[in-house]
Structures are given as structure tokens and as C-alpha cells.
Amino acid sequence: MPEGSRPWHEPRVGLRSRVALSVTGVSFVLSVVVSLTVFAVANQVLLDAREEAASLRTLKNASVVLSTRDISESNPGDVLTALSNLSDTSNPAVIWDGGANSQSLNSNFTADDLPAQLRDRALLDEEAGIMRYQTDGHTQVAVAVPIPNQRAAYFEVTPLDDIADAMSSIRLALAGAVVVSTLLAALLGSWASRYTIRPLTRVSTAAQSVALGNLDTRINYEEYRHDPDLAPLVENFNDMVQALQQRINRDARFASDVSHELRSPLTTLNAGLQVLDNNRSEMPERAQQALDLLASDVDRFTQLVEDLLEISRFDAGAVRLELDDVALVPMIRNTVGSLSRHEVPVVAEPGTEDLVIACDRRRLARILVNFCNNADKYADGATHISVSLHNPDGDDPLAEPTVRIGVEDAGPGVPPDMREEVFDRFNRGDQGGARGADIGVGLGLALVAEHARIQGGRVWVEDRVDGGSGARFVVELPVLQVRSGEPEEDLSLASPESTGNLTLTGEHRALPPLGTTGAAEDS
């Protein structure tokens, strides 16, 4: 899908966060609703209970007052005495007839403090009443009991401040519960989402592993077999990798099989050509020309088959690395010296003359020879070979010291935009179209790259160190020491297994990718 056609509101939050947020949100709303309900109910229940208690007590007190005497004729003092004799009249109470005749239990409490509606109903309608009201921010409940035939009423007020206190405690507790349950929900949601998404993480990890070349990677189907949601996902993923692996293996095997099948006829061709060449002098000139053409192409064909076999071994992952202690500089001198062409000086920079590294001797020789062949083909041969030691920068603790072998020539050089391509298969540089007899088949540098990579090294091409015209092909190898010990120690041949061979079958794809990018600036 093209970038532009995506809806602008596409979620930017990850699936896990979304699941966790949803769980948290729902939990928050639920706990708030529950808390509000609990609060309201508790409030109501408490108030109702208190009002009922207040009215019962007021009625009781009123009956005591009534039984005492007739208030209109009595001495206010008696009433007061009667009132003060009541069992629990700590509450403000008053007997009032609607006029001046008012007897208050608390000196600072008068009938004026009562709500007018309650007063009127008790005195005018002679109806008992109960009313909740607020004064100065305090909630209280007033109960009125009319005194029959007296046109007076007994009022008692019960403060509800303690209920308000209790309710505020409950409110606090409920708010705390909301916070705690929301936090718990967030934790739960995050855990649940991680748990839910774990199979996806597994698939992702597995896919990454496959991408790195571990085609044997599978997700354990048994684990998810009983899960109707995940089983198809896992099964399809495994099927996909299986199909991919089969296809890759088939391709690799095909290249290898083809090359193998070409070995026998090529052996016959070579031998037959040799016989023809031995009898060359008896041939007419035209036949000799044809023979030369044939010989040259059979040579190329042979080299191509050998290179294809070599590279198909890399592709099939059937590469056997044979690490050996190699005295680098003598080895390079030997190898380059034995190539029958003009002498190529080997410049050993400080610290490299006596350097012994663990590497695959045959592969290193192949790299050097291919570099030299390449220089022969395109640049009249190598001018010199330099060997230098590079210690890692201090800021990368994982970096190991490396050794660089640079093969320089004085040819046209490699333009910057071609410096990665030259290591591609069947890339033949500018001469790609012209298949002259001296042009190789284009696998040489690709093989060099593979040979270096399998040993944990890399190759690249850069400008000559002196800035002159020409190219510098570099192979960088780690300075590994598989064995340590005395120089005279014999370790290599006590048994076939102790030769330091390292089998990397099927693992080499996991090595870091070939470092040809931007290599020119880090020298």
C-alpha cells in the first residue's frame, strides 16, 4: 500500500500499549462507577438510619415532655427541669408555641434557628415532621413533634457532622480503591498484553532468525496446538519457512549438481584437448586456430565450474573452514612469489613481519591470487602488497585487532560508485560487454568476498594510499589466535581432530554481512 493512501488516524500506539490502555481505561471507568454507587448508597443508608434514630428519640423525648405537664400553664423552669432530665438531650431542643413562649434546652439555640417550613408545618398543621438542613456549613436534621391541643411543638435537632466525616472517609477510601484498582488494571493489562502478544514476538524473532539465514528455525507447534487462534498462525509460519528452505536448498543443490555433472565431461574435454594439442604440429593451420579457441574456452569453462562449485558450497552452507596458524608475511611472499609473473614487493609494516594469525591458508591464498589476477587483468599487474596491523578504537570494546593486506595496482582504478558492485557475482566492471580471452568469468572477486567473510573478515576496494591512479584491493582479517603456547610446541598433528579445524556448516550465513560499504573512509 502506498504511503500516501494510509488513513491519517492510523494508530501510532503499539498493539501492546493499546491492549494495556484499554484494560486500564475500562477498569478505571468501572471502578469509578462502582465507587460512586457505593458512596451514594452508603450516604443514603447512613442518613436514613440517623434520621430514623433521631425521630425515634425525639418522639421519646417529646412524650417525656408531654407527660411532664402542660407547658402553657407551667413554669418554664419545670419544663427546663423536665427537659434536662431527659435521658440524652445533648442535642439542641426547644419547645415553642409559635409565639414568645419558647423554652430552649440550649441557651444559644432558639426556635429561629429552625427551618421555617418545619416550624410552620408543626405549629399550623400540627403534623410531625423531619427535615435535613444546613446551617453554617453543618448538616443537621430537625424533628418536630406537635404537642396536641397546646398549639406548640417540641423540636429537636441532631447534627449530622459525624456522618459527613464518615462519608468523607469513605470517599477517600473509595478514591484510593479507584487509584489502586486502576494501577492494578494497568499492570494486569500490560502483563496480559505481553502474554497475548508473546506468540507474535516469537514469530517476529523466528522471522528475524530466518532472515539471518538460519533456515532451520521453526516455532514449536506443539505449544500452540490447542489454541485455535494461534495454531494456524504458527502452522502457516512454519509452512512458509519450510517452503522457503526447500526452495533455497533446491536452488543451491541445483547449482551444485549442475557443476558436479560438468566435472566429468570437463575432465574428458581437458584430456582430449591435451591429446589434440600434443599432435598440434600435424594439424593444418585452420585446425590449430580452432584448437586454440577451443582450448581457451575449455580453460575458462573449467575455471567457471570450479568457481561455481566453490560458490555453491557457500550458498549451500557446506563450508568447512580450516583454521591454521599462518606466518602471514612469509606466506604472502611465498604465494605471490610463486605466481609466475613480475615480482611484486611485499611491504610489511611494523608489527606484521613476525605476525602469526589463525586463518584458512587455502582461502587466503585464493584471495591473494584472485586480487593479483584481477590486477593483471585490468591494470598490468599489482605494483605492491602492503601488510598492516590495525588496533581497534578505544570506544568499541568488542573490536579486535585486525590485519589488512592491500594489493595495489597502477591501473585506471575503480570509480566510487562501482566499488561495491565489483564484488558482485558476474560483475566484470566496464569490460562487462567485451568477453575477451583474458577476461575472467566474473566470480573471482565475489569468491574473494566469501572467502574473507567466512573467516570473519571483509574486503573492499579504495584509492591508492599514495593518491596516485590505481586501485587498492584490501582484505581485512581478524588477528585470531586459536592456539597459544610455545613456538616449538607441537599441536597440529597429534591427531586428526587437533588440527584446529573449525566446521561452520550451515552457520556462515549468520556472520556479519560483507563490509564493503563506506570502507574507504575508515582506513
Binding site: 566429468s264 575432465t267 580450516e322 612469509p330 598433528l493
Partner: protein, 226 residues
């Protein structure tokens, strides 16, 4: 008497073309299509060199090699399908002196054969008598004595020992030895040297696992000492 080469190869085309190429070198060629036939034919063939393809119907090249090696020191070249596998080491362990990978060029093959014939025929020049502790090497006689007792070495093992003995105490690299003993070029296989050194040690060292005469010099090669 001309040189005779026994070739064991099941592919008729290769067998014929290789025969033609070898005959052009002036050598006689005896052909075998199977391992069984080669083993039966070898005692009467007067072969100076045997060329064995590893992949054979019936008994394989390794077995043919072992069988011939049991009765003769004749130089044996194995032909393998690939250089990268255990085939090479297994072939050398079976007693082969050298190996070639298909597709090979006949010139390479004849160069190897010539190097082997040189080894087999000419006693190397040099000191007539070399002594390394209990070990005595008499190049002229083609003889090696240990505590006065003759030690039986193949031609290749003997040549290897003589090359080491000719410069006692000097380190010879694998490449040097490949060049001097086998006549190989730059891609000569170090395993060839290693396997033969190992075999040599089992014959001349008092304790092959802790060699005292043929010493490995880490990263450089081998040297012979007293």
C-alpha cells in the same frame, strides 16, 4: 622398460581420454573399470603409479587404495570429486601419496606422476649419512635405521624425511615441502604435508603423540632435529 600406469575409473570417456593423454607422455596405461578388477590386476600389472577414482561402483577407491597399499609401496594418486570434503584426508589416510580434483588438466596429472617417479627412482644427492639421535638416514641407500633397525617408509615418506634431513634444524614451510616433495604449485594442500608428517612420525618417533624428531613450528612449518 617403459613406465606403466594403472588407472581405475568407471567413466569410460574419462578413462579413454586420460589414457590417450598419458600415452602421449610415453607411458603405458593399464585400465580398470572397477575396484575389484584393479585389485585383481595390480599384482601382474607392473604398475609404477596407480591412479584411483574415489567414486567407483562396488568397492570404493579408498578400499582399493588400502588393498594395494597393503602389498606395495607403489605411488598412488587419488582422484576426488571435491577438494573441500573429508575425501582428501580419507584418501591420504588410506595410503594415497597425492590427490587431484576433477576436472583436472592432464598436464597437472603428468606433472604429479613425474614428481612421483622422480621420488621413486633417483636417490637424492647430498650427505651420505645423517644421524638424528637414534635415527639414521642413508639417502643413497634409500634406507632409514632406528636403533640400527631398518624402518619401512614409502617413497613419499622417505623423500619427505630426506628433504627435512637435508637441512637439519631449518624450518621448511608446507609450501616448500609441497614444492620439493610433490611438485605442487601455490594451491598445494597443506593437508598433504600434514598427513604424511603424521604417518612419518608413527614410523620414526618413539612417541608419535609427542614427537622429538619432526617438530612443528607454529605457523611456519616443520623441521627435523636430533
Amino acid at each position: 622398460m617403459s613406465t606403466t600406469i594403472l588407472t581405475v575409473e568407471d567413466d569410460e570417456r574419462i578413462r579413454t581420454s586420460v589414457r590417450l593423454a598419458l600415452e602421449d607422455e610415453g607411458w603405458q596405461v593399464v585400465e580398470s573399470e572397477t575396484g575389484e578388477d584393479a585389485i585383481a590386476r595390480f599384482p601382474t600389472s607392473n604398475a609404477d603409479v596407480v591412479l584411483i577414482d574415489i567414486m567407483l561402483p562396488g568397492i570404493d577407491g579408498f578400499e582399493v587404495c588400502r588393498s594395494i597399499r597393503r602389498e606395495s609401496d607403489v605411488p598412488i594418486v587419488m582422484v576426488t570429486a571435491r577438494a573441500d570434503t573429508h575425501d582428501v584426508v580419507a584418501g591420504l589416510e588410506a595410503g594415497a601419496d597425492d590427490y587431484l580434483t576433477k576436472p583436472f588438466v592432464p598436464k597437472e596429472l603428468s606433472a604429479r606422476i613425474r614428481a612421483m617417479l622422480r621420488r621413486a627412482r633417483t636417490p637424492p644427492p647430498g650427505n651420505p649419512h645423517l644421524t638424528f639421535g637414534e635415527l639414521e638416514v642413508v639417502p643413497q641407500e634409500g634406507e632409514v635405521l632406528r636403533n640400527g633397525e631398518p624402518v619401512h617408509l614409502t617413497k613419499t615418506e622417505f623423500k619427505l624425511l630426506v628433504e627435512l634431513a637435508s637441512q637439519p634444524g631449518t624450518v621448511l614451510s608446507r609450501e616448500d615441502l609441497l614444492d620439493r616433495v610433490w611438485g605442487h604449485g601455490v594451491f598445494g594442500d597443506g593437508r598433504l604435508v600434514d598427513v604424511h608428517i603424521r604417518r612419518l612420525r608413527t614410523k620414526i618417533e618413539p612417541d608419535p603423540a609427542n614427537p622429538t624428531h619432526v617438530a612443528t613450528v607454529r605457523g611456519l612449518g616443520y623441521k627435523l632435529q636430533g
